[in-house]
């Protein structure tokens, strides 16, 4: 554990350079370059809105807010999670030259990809806040807990990304498992529907253990539901337990694979 943290502190300038590189590399080469960071998610939100609100007509006001705003406040954190699961898990493979050609500690590769995605997330979040203000729904005290949820999400998925990317580097099968389960996670986490509408208490409880659900709900707590994060203590405890488990897993994986990965990549 300390070794991982120590590597990060020592290589802070390398991390920042690589974060920039990762961002530039993602958006370089297209004419609209940086605008894609906004266009792509906007397009996807629109499609979901069209599908659900106009096609399936599930559109109704959620907790007194329009469905569109409700959707957006859950989709934006999902985009970050989606990027981590899809691209973050690939990061060590993608940057294999850093591992096999240069002496860069492996553990910083998932971190800087996560940071670069998170920067995009911050931009999207700012736009979301603007949207809420412009549509006439003023934000209140509850928005103050937004940074806490953002921090929760960032830390959890950065640590999880360590595990995912290390395992994906060793096994391509694992990478495929992650990629094919992304949609399942999306569908089961209540990003596009409200998990509290489930009546079966056992099923609801199981679904709420999902950290993605916790985070998406958390974002909505800030914008729409107006609940403090400690009020739903059971979900919070479940999240912390999952968080600690992934911390332990990341340490185990790092120890186990650190010396193997340069040989297998």
């Amino acid at each position: 554990m300390f070794e991982i943290i120590d590597e990060h502190i020592q290589n802070i300038s390398i991390i920042s350079t690589l974060t920039k590189t990762d961002l530039i590399r993602t958006y370089r080469g297209a004419i609209l370059s940086w605008a894609w960071a906004i266009i792509r998610p906007a397009f996807r939100i629109f499609i979901y809105y069209f599908m659900l609100a106009i096609g399936l007509k599930v559109s109704k006001d959620m907790f007194g807010y329009p469905y569109f705003l409700w959707l957006i406040s859950g989709m934006v954190p999902w985009f970050y999670i989606n990027d981590i699961l899809n691209q973050g898990s690939e990061s060590i493979r993608k940057y294999s030259y850093l591992v096999t050609k240069m002496k860069i500690p492996i553990c910083i590769i998932p971190t800087f990809t996560s940071i670069s995605r998170f920067i995009i997330h911050i931009i999207l979040m700012a736009i979301t806040i603007c949207l809420f203000i412009f549509s006439g729904y003023s934000l209140d005290m509850y928005i103050l807990q937004l940074p806490i949820y953002m921090l929760f999400m960032f830390l959890f998925f950065t640590i999880l990304n360590q595990v995912l990317s290390l395992l994906s580097a060793v096994s391509k099968d694992f990478l495929n498992i992650i990629k094919s389960s992304v949609f399942a996670i999306f569908a089961l986490s209540g990003v596009i529907w409200d998990i509290s509408s489930i009546h079966n208490p056992i099923l609801k409880f199981i679904l709420e253990l999902n950290p993605v659900t916790f985070l998406v709900n958390g974002y909505r707590n800030c914008f729409i539901k107006h609940v403090w994060f400690w009020e739903d203590s059971l979900s919070l405890i479940a999240f912390i337990v999952v968080f600690l488990i992934s911390c332990i897993l990341s340490v185990i994986c790092y120890k186990k694979f650190k010396k193997i990965i340069p040989d297998v990549l």
């Binding site: 300038s13 390398i14 350079t17 690589l18 590189t21 530039i24 590399r25 370089r28 080469g29 030259y97 850093l98 591992v99 096999t100 050609k101 240069m102 002496k103 860069i104 060793v170 096994s171 391509k172 099968d173 694992f174 186990k256 694979f257 650190k258 010396k259 193997i260 340069p262 040989d263 297998v264």
Partner: protein
């Protein structure tokens, strides 16, 4: 000051040969058995002092590059201890490790940063690197438009201009035209002249080894067969 630059103590390195891809993940997670191991290096010990220039000679697949990787700290030994004093720049493959969508100039910055240089230092050497690589206006074009030769010119130029205490070159003279090679030779000689830099070269070409190095290490069958004067080493290798 410690006069030893690189020290190998009883180092072994073995790669696991997996029969199937599936056994790779299985064995690394659960337990390890029934896996064939290929011993690339077998209990090797040597030490190189500061300012020495050493050529490592041997046939393909005899573990020369593995030694370099171990020195560079890219892979870890299966057994034994390696000590390296001083910062190093390893060119394991000259034309790899570039960001394809970045321009040459941006890649210089990126690589230098990864080697641990500060922004001010990079600005200082940037022009020298560009001048030496001599690829004209291509320096502001994306790397993917470069030819192999141009990439290796840039790669070599970056490595030599970061003035590492230990310079490692792996088969780098197989690319580049005649004039550029001459330029590289001169640069390396200039680099070696002040006797402060340690130089490690892996090569098949005896003349190049003779030109730069006083000492040769011949690797054969995962062991050191000979360690000493370069001329004797080459004679033994050619025999």
């Amino acid at each position: 000051m410690n006069s030893i630059a690189i020290k190998f103590e009883d180092v072994s390195k073995s790669y696991k040969l997996y029969k199937k891809n599936s056994s790779k993940i299985f064995s690394s997670i659960f337990f390890e058995k029934h896996i064939k191991e290929k011993n690339v290096l077998n209990h090797i010990s040597f030490s190189i002092s500061k300012g020495e220039s050493v050529a490592i000679i041997g046939k393909n697949g005899m573990g020369k590059s593995t030694i370099l990787k171990l020195v560079a700290g890219i892979t870890y030994p299966s057994y034994g201890k390696i000590t390296v004093n001083g910062n190093l720049s390893a060119i394991l493959e000259l034309n790899s490790g570039f960001e394809n969508d970045f321009t040459g100039r941006e890649n210089i910055f990126l690589k230098c940063k990864l080697l641990g240089l500060k922004t001010a230092q990079i600005k200082e050497i940037e022009n020298k690197i560009i001048e030496f690589a001599d690829i004209g206006e291509y320096i502001d074009q994306p790397i993917r438009t470069y030819s192999t030769g141009m990439k290796s010119r840039l790669g070599f130029s970056i490595s030599i201009h970061t003035y590492p205490e230990i310079l490692i070159l792996d088969e780098v003279f197989s690319v580049g035209d005649y004039h550029f090679k001459q330029k590289c030779y001169e640069k390396i000689k200039e680099f070696l002249n002040d006797n402060k830099h340690t130089f490690l070269l892996v090569t098949h070409a005896p003349d190049i080894a003779k030109e730069f190095c006083e000492r040769g290490i011949l690797i054969e069958n995962s062991q050191i067969k000979f360690d000493g004067n370069i001329q004797d080493c080459i004679n033994l290798y050619l025999k």
